[in-house]
Amino acid sequence: MIPAAGFPNRQGLHFTRASPRPYICGLSLRPPEEYGRGEVNQTNCQEADFAGRSISLLIQPHETAERAGPAVRVEHLSLKYGGQVALDDVSLSVGRGSSFALLGPNGAGKTSLISVLATLRDADKGLVEVAGHDVCRASRQVRLSIGMVFQDPSLDDRLSAEENLDFHGRVYGIPGRLRAEAIDRVLDLVELTGWREAIVRSFSGGMKRRLEIARALMHKPQILFLDEPTVGLDAQTRARIWAYLNRQRRERGLTLLTTTHYIEEVEDADRICIIDKGRIIAEGTPGQLKRELGQSFLHVVAATPADHAALLAAYPDSHAVSPEALAIPAGDEDFVAGFLARFGNRLREMRFEGPTLEGVFLSLTGRVLRDRTDGEREAQRNAGRRAGRR
């Protein structure tokens, strides 16, 4: 029972009479709409009679304690790295509980941005706030509220899965019993319970990735950064990982910030930010971007070099996506009909592509998002890493 007059009028006490069932959260009363579904249940919620009204007392776990404002706020951020401009006047805002994707080719500045957000690198200029804390002045609070999945593996592969997680728990200051519970919880989440005692070196790439995601979720972060989270994973594993993450988002309001150069990975995101050469070139929901910037393209390969030259002359606004292939912005069906009448017999290959995010990137930058060499470079890097291993 909570006496109505017993509340001291302190900071943090919000009482919304307009809402039918206010929730008491610590010292704050908030309407139920402000909480994500799944947060209130039998164990953390207690019915109480308050001022003649039925209310629920929510004993909220510390780590989900909310602060007002967006999960990530970046204003006019600039960063130089080795004399090169890595980020140039970047501003963005990521809402709590949303899924935000940073899309761009390799070297666009995605990893640099994540490094600044994760307090690994200091910004040259600009304001950066994560979970309501300034990354420079309150880096400890920022680090406690974020989880990080790096582009390259960062597990100790000479320890077992459990030992890696235990290390993480200790370093994040989680006490013994809670740590054991958290390990059980996250191992179950990524379906690695059976591999608990196995040494990480024996894991496949997908298992390592899942273990890293489990580890990043162990201290119940408010925001999870995923830097190219599913590079080198098969489609099935990729889908499973996204299913885990979206469930976390629904169940406890986790914010996801993903960088990727895989289009198919961001189609489900709430908001997409396209970044190229350290600048933000477009931002919006996937639908918005496709509607506003999306264009249909005809991807064609000419039969002979002469035909190629003729195509270029006829359509000066086409983009060369490889030495041979051209992407020609296509208007409507009439355009295609006209094109076929003119060049139909002078082509070796032709493919029509409706408005896609890939197309958005192409029309914004004149380049394809993923050049073919990306895959090769990754393979080479992995081979190098294997060879360098003792």
Partner: protein
């Protein structure tokens, strides 16, 4: 206090990982056992009969100890030097294989991460030093319990200082291969130029010393901090000092703090 406990937990976690890695690394453990055996059983036993303090045909220095006894503390220091300085490989490993980033984004302050790592490395090195203590009876060194306790405490302090030194070296080296060469060019010269395998006569004046050893060698030995570190341990284990023992203790203390701060500067960029 509330923020101090999680940091302690973190330091313990980092320490525990170093211990797990050290005990699982069979190669390192083998080196830790075989090294003192070779030095004591082959070099020590081999040179034992020739160790009489005879210079130019007359006995000018009579040490009340056998060569094995004289060499014993030095072999402990050698074992500690190897393990401590090789610890830098663990730092390079973390850096090269990405694990360092996992630690750097954690809420632990950088000094606490380094402290945990160094304590872990120092514990492993002390363990390797203690392994040598087991051979004491074969070197005719009789030890009392307080001596063993003192020796272990001193060994830990020495290991701590040398491990920090190893981390400083790790900051200067970019690859594993480079480090192997580097560590040997650091460890062995320091060890040999420290009066570890041959004695200096404490009763001789400097001019008299110069008569038995070349000037440059004596300069090296006096300038080498390991000289005093070995000497202090000799004082604890066989009650023989060539220099005032507080120099050794003082240098180790300064080394612990100085190298730790230096390592902190280079750790994690």
């Amino acid at each position: 206090m509330s923020s101090f406990l999680p940091i302690l937990r973190g330091i313990h976690g980092v320490w525990l990982r170093e211990i797990m890695r050290a005990t699982r690394d069979k190669g390192q453990l083998l080196g830790g056992v075989s090294r003192p055996l070779i030095w004591l059983l082959i070099l020590g036993v081999g040179l034992n009969p020739y160790f009489r303090g005879e210079v130019f045909g007359e006995v000018r220095l009579v040490l009340p100890y056998s060569y094995l006894q004289f060499l014993f503390p030095a072999v402990i220091v050698l074992n500690i030097m190897y393990t401590s300085i090789q610890f830098a490989v663990s730092v390079i490993w973390d850096r090269e294989f990405g694990f360092l980033r996992e630690i750097l984004v954690s809420p632990m302050p950088r000094w606490a991460v380094l402290l945990g790592k160094v304590l872990g490395g120092a514990t492993a090195a002390t363990g390797h030093g203690t392994l040598v203590l087991i051979l004491a009876r074969f070197a005719d060194v009789t030890l009392t319990a307080p001596q063993v306790a003192q020796a272990i405490a001193y060994m830990f302090a020495l290991s701590f200082a040398l491990t920090c030194f190893g981390v400083v070296l790790a900051g200067k080296v970019r690859s594993f291969e480079g480090f192997g060469v580097f560590s040997n060019t650091v460890i062995l010269p320091l060890y040999f130029a420290s009066s570890s395998v041959f004695p200096l006569d404490p009763s001789l004046t400097r001019t008299q010393l110069v008569a038995s050893y070349p000037e440059w060698l004596i300069m090296l030995i006096y300038a080498n901090p390991i000289t005093y570190a070995v000497d202090a341990l000799r004082g604890i284990l066989i009650n023989f000092n060539q220099f005032p023992p507080h120099i050794g203790f003082g240098l180790v203390g300064i080394g612990m703090i100085g190298f730790f701060l230096w390592a902190l500067r280079s750790f994690g960029r």
